[in-house]
Amino acid sequence: MNNLLLIAYLDLKESLRAHWFMIYSLVFGGLIALFFIAGITESQVMGFSGLSRLLLMYIQVTVIILPIFILITTVRSISGDRDSHILEYMLSFPISLKQYYWGKVLGRFITVFLPVFMAMVIAVVYGVFQGADVPWSIFFLYTGLLFSMSSAFLGIAFFISSTVKSSEMALGISFFVWIVLLAFIDIALISLMLQNRMSEGLIIAIALLNPMEVFRVAAISLFDPELTVMGPVAFYILDLFSQGVFVVLSILYPIFVGVLFAVAGYRVFRKKDLV
């Protein structure tokens, strides 16, 4: 086992024992599984609109909870180890900074993605046993979207974690990032549009830069591209792009954001004082 995989493996084992991981799995995974199960079973009884409503609830939960969970659990990965002098000891062994950093990224990615993915798997298995038709296209799209959104926020979290010296500061910045991105989904954008202080193109560009908005629009688009609940910005975006192009973009763009921030975080980690 090379050192990168060793770090990833140990980080994974450490996370699996942590209280935050148990809460993460129970609250988030359980909630998603519940929504999925409810959506699949309800759809046979209530028809299309019932499923849309339930999945919309699911999307709202995912958009809000997943980023903040990833940020607050990951952001202390390096800054917390630095605060508690764990980094000082662990890096006194011949492990390269590249192996340490990317090993942590890999381990933490598996930790945050696995419960979310497993929740969907459980939901699908439950649906099969209930005799429901499994919406495979939705399942695969959601897997891709959750993978890409996990990548985006994991990269941002590692960037914050390696840039900031104290874990308290890292937590504060995480909340700030989350609130800003949350604000710039439709609610803030609608008010900007209403006030007409910015051009429509700029508002759409802001929306498309936000991985949370991209996730939300892509998640809605597969179910009901003409439904008004998606909001005016989302409607405009889906009018601008074909659904296929936007789905591909919505998976690739957050991964790009995540990789970009993770690489930037690594460069900072390598260039700055380690402890």
Partner: protein, 212 residues
Amino acid sequence: MIRLNNVSKTFGTTCSLDHVTIAFNQGDAVALMGANGAGKTTLIRLILGYYHPSSGSVRIDGRDPIKERTEILKQVSFVPQLPPPIKLNVGELIAYVCRSAQVTEAAIYQYADEMRLDIAPNRGKSFFKLSGGMKQKLLIAISLAKQSAIMIYDEPTANLDPQARDDFYRLLQHNEQNKLALFVTHRIEEVKTIVNRKIYLDLGKVVSDETC
């Protein structure tokens, strides 16, 4: 072996190490002393490649400890003053050390035995849940098992009882020949029988360097 050439390290407006030029050679057993904030820890961290010097250079066997950290750290053992709250269990920590530093488990067990620490019943326990003394003994056993040419101990006996301190110094005497050992200490009485050089730091400068 280790050469610091005109090294300064500042943090904001605070100068922690001020144009220090010093060399440590094979066979040196050095007591690094000084008041809190004198620059001892900064000096150690520069040697370990954790800090980038603000000016000057640090070389270990002619190599840069930042650019060639893995090669340098293969020959360095380090024990911090306070064992960090590592969340791995003891078995995982030992696995980390063995795989990253090519140390054998048998060697760690052997030195742990010499330090009167029985690893086997504690293997599944989280490292941070061990008592302070047990943690320090394990870190000392790991440092000795690594058989490094450079051994750095930052107040290593702070958590140890008198018996464990005696065990530690006895083991060191057997293991420090032809090596370089650096001890950050406030208690010169404890290490005076094993050091052959005493360095005093104050306000980031070397104020005294005595061979004994």
